[in-house]
Amino acid sequence: MSTETTDAIASTEETPPAEPERASIDPHQTRRAWLLIAPTLVTLAVVIGYPVVRAIWMSFQSDETIDPQTGLFVEGGFAGLENYAHWILQQCGGQACPPGTNAASFWDTVFITLGFTVVTVAIELVLGFWFAIIMNGTFRGRGLVRAAVLIPWAIPTAVTAKLWYFIFAFDGIANSLMGTSIVWFSDKWAARAAIVISDVWKTTPFMALLILAGLQLIGQDVHEAAKVDGASAWQRFWHITLPLVKPAVVVALLFRTLDVLRIFDLPYIMTGGGAGDGNDTTTLSILVVNEIRSGFNSAAALSTLTFLLIFAVAFVFIKVLGADLSQDVKER
């Protein structure tokens, strides 16, 4: 418990609140604050604000179409909710979209994305908790362990994808170690498993580090006191550790859930969105990218739906699970 990380985190928490007498808001300070923040607001307005507004506007426009009579491109004009119906109701020009089109696979894609999210985050939570508990113990070689967990985090996802693509190759080390001969990227469940395993490998360390930081805030004395009172290891975990690390865990869960909902690199590079030539590993992000080639406006509607889904999930986390991301600031 005496590493510098622990100290750094502990000191973070022990710092006395900076001058609570500043509670009353000084208009001069407000003006200065807004001046300091202005560049950020302008930058975010350009890099996020404009694209969002533009995407929403585009999502209500029709795609340019080729006039069958003249063979020329015609402006689409206002489309109402047509682009949204295209995805949600899978309507292509008034009738059901034929199989094989992007729109026809919309709901499959939604469930594949949600499936990846639930499975990946659940596995990461359990493994991450276990890693964190081990790393919170006393042992030699803390530096080595910390370095080891940072490596999967530091490797670019594109490289991770290629690395695991090689590991899961037919003649690769995965089949060799398990004594199997699975063609990982031809079977949809094997391909999905390969993607989940790669993602879990890369991001469990991040989960573990966040949970570890939460664990390190729990004083050893609390556990000692409970031990003296006769609480078993399981009781101590359930009644002390879990409630106290809950805030850290919920925030970690939120970050990771939002990450997996927008997962792109791993399935795109490893399978191109399909196992064989299907779309069994197509996530929402991949579908958006595929759709850009078909039409900006329908792609804009799909990306709007994607970010609405992500914000809905974030909202649920913050309201229901009480993920409090700004607690520190509110306390001041």
């Binding site: 710092t15 001058e19 407000t30 604050a33 950020t40 607001l41 930058t43 975010l44 890099v47 996020i48 694209p51 969002v52 276990w130 081990i134 070689g141 362990v145 910390r146 080891a148 967990v149 940072l150 490596i151 999967p152 985090w153 530091a154 490797i155 670019p156 594109a158 490289v159 290629k162 690395l163 090689f166 590991i167 190759a169 080390i173 060799s176 170690l177 469990t204 805030l217 006191a225 409970a226 009172d229 006769g230 609480a231 009644h239 002390i240 805030p247 792109f264 590079i269 958006v288 990218v289 850009i292 900006f296 804009a300 990306s303 994607t306 992500i310 409090d324 991301l325 700004s326 607690q327």
Partner: protein, 302 residues
């Protein structure tokens, strides 16, 4: 925190029925064994696949699928293949592109973000929570939602495949990350020194520049590393908005072409991955404590 701790302890003590007689304590050697088994698993988890990438990177192409766990048929050939342009790969150029794109992204994010972080950590003002919520919402924003409008915009104004077309979207996630990490660092700095400087006659600007900035340097450095790594690792946006001339390494690796079409040049790709990853790993190992603190600073509340 103190309150919840007390409650938890009281709960445990209060429920008499749950109370077990102190059983046979676990033997210390068993505990040690258990800890070190876990430690070994974590180390293998982190290093194993990376080690395998290294071993393969230095292995002769003919022995791609050799499963000997230590280096065999060691060669530099794969690295020559990686940097060779004979098959239309421009890995060297992609490396330079990545440095340019990530560097510019980091510089812009830091210059803009440092002031906001200072205001958020240090000043009381109306609308603070709105700003904070705004930054958080920005950091959760799916990159893919930016691609469609930016694809259209950059095509229309002739920016498609330029560096600025890649830096601008990268700022959308690097800037919120920078603000997040910096705000957490700034909150824990010894600000009474700033007051002391002001009492000694320094202006707020001087107090910031001469007292606070040197103290904040480690935090700023960490935020810069995190922003740089995140931009370096970006793939989604670059895969759609870069041209052959401006593509970064992540895109170059994903589309690395081998001698024969449809045959993945595994050893060369592993060598390319090794080249891209090793500088990051050196950086991460050198600053691991700070990086862990920076990564967890925003996420953990006591």
């Amino acid at each position: 925190m103190a309150t919840s701790t007390d409650t938890a302890t009281t709960d445990t003590r209060g429920s008499e029925s749950d109370r077990k007689p102190p059983g046979k304590p676990t033997a210390p050697w068993l505990k040690t064994l258990r800890t070190y088994t876990g430690v070994a698993i974590i180390v293998i988890w982190g290093l194993g696949p990376f080690y395998w990438m290294g071993v393969t990177a230095f292995r002769d192409l003919q022995f791609t699928f050799d499963t000997t766990p230590w280096p065999t048929h060691v060669t530099w050939d794969n690295f020559e293949t990686v940097f060779s342009t004979a098959r239309g790969n421009h890995f060297g150029r992609a490396l330079v592109n990545s440095v340019i794109i990530s560097g510019l992204t980091t510089i812009v994010s830091m210059v803009v973000g440092v002031f906001t972080a200072y205001a958020l950590a240090r000043l009381e003002f109306r609308g603070k929570f709105i700003i904070l919520g705004f930054v958080l919402a920005a950091s959760m924003f799916p990159g893919v939602a930016l691609i469609t409008p930016l694809f259209e915009l950059f095509t229309n104004i002739g920016w498609f495949g330029t560096y600025q077309a890649l830096v601008i979207p990268d700022i959308s996630f690097a800037l919120p990350l920078t603000i997040y990490v910096l705000t957490a660092f700034f909150r824990d700095m010894p600000w009474e020194l700033e007051e002391a400087a002001k009492i000694d006659g320094a202006s707020p600007g001087q107090a910031f520049r001469l007292v606070i900035l040197p103290l904040a340097a480690p935090g700023i450095f960490t935020a810069a590393i995190l922003a740089f790594i995140t931009a370096w690792n970006e793939f989604t946006i670059a895969s759609q908005l870069s041209s052959d001339e401006t593509q970064p390494v992540t895109v170059a690796i994903a589309s690395f072409a081998g001698a024969q079409p449809h045959v993945e040049p595994y050893t060369a790709v592993m060598a390319a991955g090794f080249v891209v990853t090793v500088p990051l790993i050196v950086m991460v190992l050198a600053f691991q404590r700070r990086i862990v603190a920076g990564l967890t600073a925003g996420g953990v509340k006591g």
